[in-house]
Amino acid sequence: MTINTQDHGRAIAPAARALDVLGGETTEAGLRRYLEGIPGVDAVGLEQRAAALATRSIKTTSKARALDTIISLIDLTTLEGADTPGKVRSLVAKAVTPDAADPTTPRVAAVCVYGDMVPAALQALGSAHAGAAGNGIAVAAVATAFPSGRASLPVKLADTADAVAAGADEIDMVIDRGAFLAGRYGQVFDQIVAVKEACRRPDGTYAHLKVILETGELNTYDNVRRASWLAILAGGDFIKTSTGKVSPAATLPVTLSMLEVVRDWHRLTGEKIGVKPAGGIRSSKDAIRYLVTVAETVGEQWLRPELFRFGASSLLNDVLLQRQKTLTGHYSGPDYVTID
């Protein structure tokens, strides 16, 4: 391992959780020792466990409840270069009224957009916004040079502060995978701490911080596990699998391994961290497998928007079709749900 000895003893940002857990050792070396001391992950065993959880059979009343739960956990997302205020308005309308034919359909948890679309989203939400209504819809913005994260720290912080100033309730940041893979854990850590600080609003409250690990680029489950611990130690409120721009995006084994970290963190500190699989979850069947995995790994108290989200765009319509089927007893077709 090639570690610059000068960096080795360098102090990392004194984030509260890290101070508690690492004790006096808030240095690059201390952080590294901690992360490397976490038990490893056996890939075969992890995938077997995920596959076993995926065989749970959720039928009838359980399925009906699961479908409504899924909708209430969705971060309805549009992250295209071609996004316009019009497209965002359309997305928001869908978020507010997922199924025009059935007003009892729950609303989604949030809409997720690029930072410059936050004002458009807020405007479209109006009174449906989380700030105004009790269980309204939140606005999440991706930030920190999403999706690659390849920009200098000041640019990332400006990106974040800009979105928060525009009124974003939640920030989905990306970690510097390059730095992580090069073993510069301290740098990744410091950036998360800095972004968290940039989430601070003038009134002292913080925008919710979701930390995207981009697990498809971290490649191994051991890396995913370390990155999860690192993101939590640095102050992340949520850990999120992917940007959706890299394949593979969310997989069940990856999400399971992140849930195990969250469960262990809860056991260690009593604090609850959220998890957000994003990208690649397109069918109700898939999404139900995630619910089962959450409930049987961390417990069903995690199945609420403050602690679990699906980052998805096409998932919603499949869930709506399944929901219609459950209620009416027959399948309809893609023309019976709105495209956005």
Binding site: P39, G40, V41, D42, V44, G45, L46, Q48, R49, T55, R56, S57, I58, K59, T60, T61, S62, K63, R65, A66, T69, S257, E260, L291, A295, E296, E300, L303
Partner: protein, 511 residues
């Protein structure tokens, strides 16, 4: 309402087309047994499923005679290639009827449908496919050119994996050119009889596979029958001993696959979450009715408390109940007798001072059930650390160094299997090298593959099943005294059938 209260998702029994009474399968036909018939029940609700015949000595005579005729006239003369074709056909039929077989197995045995569907039945098909491939390649089985089949094999199998154990016995025997008389366990004959239907469907020459049902006495008659050349037994060490005694001094070749008390060794650097899964899979798979179950957990002292805490919280998520429900993790104990034994041994465990913890499961009113249980503070001298419980009961012991782990793991009269959990490859290899057990799993447990030999050290038996080694149990080198029967390129399926028994079953085919 809790998300975790999954709505019932039972696999439908409608796929089954069971008869109300079953005869014996002799010479390609179902015939009535001369012994006293008995009921087979579902251990989950104690409801009768069907009436099963008992084969008496005369029936066993008939079966052995039929197997002998089929051996002399057809099967030993058939080319390996043609034998392979039959085995492939059986394998495909098992796949085609897999759902039916899985439902029948769960109904009769009490194991969860997810296991019979995802483990037992797929492995049965895999076993037939694998040995089908060997049938025309026996020259390469490691016994020199042109090895010779043995003749008629008498096979007695247990109730824990009824159909899977049948395939472990029948597939290699047939591939090697032997014919068989098989006795399934008294409480789990159903799938063997469905298998007999598959044998008919596959148009296997009459008498190549014969199935005689009944209790221990039928098994004894079969094993002691002078007309058989090979005995293969899977079951308890006590019965295995009797068989070894009765076979001693005869020409019969013998393989025994008996009990076990496997050590599952967890080192402090183990991938902890997967190790917990492996411990659960090691002892609670099939309600612990597994001869190679990891029933002794040896955990490094430094991580003992953490492992136990995690294990308890994981066990609390197991679902005990209707074996046919697709979400059931723990099914029913196979019989009242076995439940009684588990209760006795766990009571002894408590009396000897081990600390008992059972998962908080709702136990159904009818049927035979036992909640997943772990014992901590177990010493090597406790009976629950020595005796095979054959139930969902884990005994937890600790160790400090690899040397102590090896010593404790080997300190048992058994030696069927063992497990090692560590992130360090060199340690796994070094420890595995010193463990006296037939199968050693590293960072996994209870995984089976037809290409991998399976068998025991010491009181766990002798001989190997599975893989190339499994063929050696059913073959002799060509140089042996008896002249080789196999010669004709193919007598094929047109081979003459002896006149059919006039004793054809009178049993109805209605449900």
């Amino acid at each position: 309402m809790s998300f975790l209260e999954y709505a019932p998702a039972p696999e439908s029994k409608a796929i089954l087309n069971l008869k109300s009474e079953y005869g014996l399968f002799i010479d390609g036909e179902f015939v009535d047994g001369r012994g006293e018939a008995f009921a087979t029940i579902s251990p989950a609700d104690e409801q009768r499923i069907a009436t099963i015949s008992t084969a008496d000595a005369a029936d066993v005579d008939d079966a052995v005679a039929a197997a002998r005729r089929a051996y002399e006239n057809v099967w030993s003369r058939m080319s390996g290639r043609d034998r392979g074709k039959y085995l492939y056909r059986i394998a495909r039929l098992v796949q085609e009827r897999s759902r039916e077989l899985a439902v029948a197995e769960s109904l009769d045995n009490g194991k969860p449908i997810k296991e019979s569907r995802d483990v037992d039945v797929p492995l049965v098909a895999a076993w037939f496919f694998y040995y089908a491939g060997w049938a025309d390649k026996l020259d390469h089985a490691g016994l020199g050119p042109a090895p010779r089949s043995l003749g008629v094999a008498g096979q007695v199998i247990p109730w824990n994996f009824p159909l899977l154990m049948l395939s472990w016995k029948i597939a290699p025997a047939l591939a090697a050119g032997n014919t068989v008389v098989l006795k399934p366990a008294e409480t789990t004959s159903l799938t063997a009889l469905l298998f007999a239907e598959i044998v008919q469907q596959a148009d296997l020459p009459a008498g190549v596979v014969n199935i005689v049902t009944g209790a221990g006495e039928t098994g004894r008659t079969l094993v002691e029958h002078p007309g058989i050349d090979k005995v293969a037994f899977t079951g308890s060490t006590a019965v295995g001993r009797q068989i070894a005694r009765s076979v001693a001094g005869t020409h019969k070749k013998l393989t025994l696959e008996l009990g076990g008390k496997a050590a599952n060794i967890v080192f402090d650097d183990a991938p902890i979450d997967q190790a917990i899964e492996g411990i659960v899979n090691g002892i609670f798979f099939n309600q612990g009715h597994v001869c190679c179950a990891g029933s002794r957990l040896l955990v490094q002292e430094s991580i003992h408390d953490e492992v136990i805490e995690r294990l308890k919280s994981r066990l609390s998520t197991l679902r005990l109940g209707d074996p046919l429900d697709k979400n059931t993790d723990i099914g029913a104990i196979n019989s009242a007798e076995q439940l009684q034994r588990i209760r006795e041994l766990t009571a002894v465990g408590e009396a000897e001072g081990a600390e008992r913890w059972s998962a908080d499961c709702v136990i159904p009113e009818n049927g035979f059930w036992f909640a997943p249980t772990i014992f901590t503070n177990v010493s090597t001298s406790h009976r629950i650390a020595r005796d095979e419980i054959f139930g969902p009961v884990l005994s937890v012991l600790t160790f400090r160094t690899p040397a102590e782990a090896i010593a404790k793991a080997n300190n048992t009269p058994y030696g069927l299997s063992a497990g090692i959990w560590s992130d360090k490859g060199s340690r796994i290899l070094a420890v595995a090298d010193k463990l006296r057990a037939g199968v050693i799993w590293a960072n996994t447990f209870n995984r089976f593959d037809p290409a991998s030999p399976f068998g025991g050290y010491k009181e766990s038996g002798y001989g190997r099943e599975g893989g190339r080694h499994g063929l050696a149990a059913y073959l002799a080198p060509a140089a042996s005294s008896a002249p080789r029967a196999e010669a004709a390129p193919s007598a094929g399926r047109v081979a003459a059938k002896p006149p059919r028994s006039s004793r054809r079953s009178t049993k109805g085919t209605d449900k």
